[in-house]
Symmetry: C2
Subunit: 166 residues, 2 copies
DNA sequence: TTAATAACCTACTAAATTAGTTGGTTATAT
DNA sequence: ATATAACCAACTAATTTAGTAGGTTATTAA
């Protein structure tokens, strides 16, 4: 079992998508800006998410990604599975053979733990996360931060236009 | 969060200790033979387990390691914590600062997951594991395997002795 | 039709971690 | 005295992570 930045990024990005895709596709550069995740890294993660048909893509300007199912039908466990190998805590991937073909002393413990984690993460849909107060608060802050950055970009653009016009 | 061979080895070795330390200290080479874990690697793990006072050591011939507390007072979570950083699933180690000093969108989810895993692994003592039927079965098989290897070593020794005596 | 956008794709890389190995020293029971 | 077994430090190969670099292809809008 491993749960690192990779899996956390994937869930964060999918949640961002769930929060912002009501008005059409969301581009990875938007997600990158809002969530502070490298664009190229996001591309790699979304290639995997697409392979698992968790998202679908729209190319060209105004394009981006959409959830390929309802928010209530996508679970955190599926997202982590899509980018990591699995949420499996055993060393034998359930095969009971990690001590030279035989069952190791702690096999059953890791099976139980795997079930525990899997049950927990399988019970949490994107819909459930979107509803949470803590998630909404963070999302609002991120959105207003982005609006401020956009405004300052607009000002920069005005300056450039003004300069070009002499 | 990471749960790899390292943490699994540590728990397996501690359980082996719990199963065999009733008649005095258990040497790492015994654990190595029974559990198929490299001796030098075990030494590194036990250095950490000793620092966390989960085991105490006896040097010299007949020496080895003992649990420094009752089996019912040592929990799987403590063992994993001792060799890994922690069973924490957050990227911020609870500090709520993983997105450039601010809370990321999924912080609370990973906190909940960490609690889930910690509660589970904190509820399982070595005593509980020792009592389990599946653990006893594997332990019995390992013990009889070792007895067979010892016997064949004895035969080898007999051959060597015989050869030396002419 | 052309320019901009944004997905898609491949290959490379620095840093960290894992799972060891090697080659010792120190303490102690017999 | 010797064998045992803990203790210790330094090195290593392989793997994984979290990226970067440098493209190509599809689509929209000016
Ligand atoms: S974890 Fe399954 S056999 Fe060891
Ligand atoms: S995991 Fe805690 S702030 Fe991101």
């Amino acid at each position: 079992m491993r749960l690192t930045t990779k899996g956390r990024y994937a869930v964060t990005a999918m949640l961002d998508l769930a929060l912002h895709s009501d008005k059409g596709p969301v581009s990875l550069s938007d997600i990158s800006a809002r969530q502070g995740i490298s664009l190229s890294y996001l591309e790699q993660l979304f290639a995997k998410l697409r392979k698992q048909s968790l998202v679908s893509s729209v190319r060209g300007p105004g394009g981006g990604y959409l959830l390929s199912r309802e928010r209530c039908d996508i679970f955190v466990a599926q997202i982590v599975d899509a980018v990591n190998e699995s949420v499996d805590a055993t060393g034998c991937r359930g095969r009971s053979d990690c001590q030279g073909g035989t069952t190791c002393l702690t096999h059953h413990l890791w099976c139980d733990l795997s079930d525990q984690i899997h049950d927990f993460l399988s019970g949490i849909s994107l819909e459930k996360l979107v509803q949470r107060k803590d998630v909404r608060l963070v999302a609002e802050r991120q959105d207003s931060d982005i609006r401020q950055i956009d405004q300052s970009h607009d000002k920069d653009q005005d300056k450039i236009s003004a300069a070009l016009l002499g």
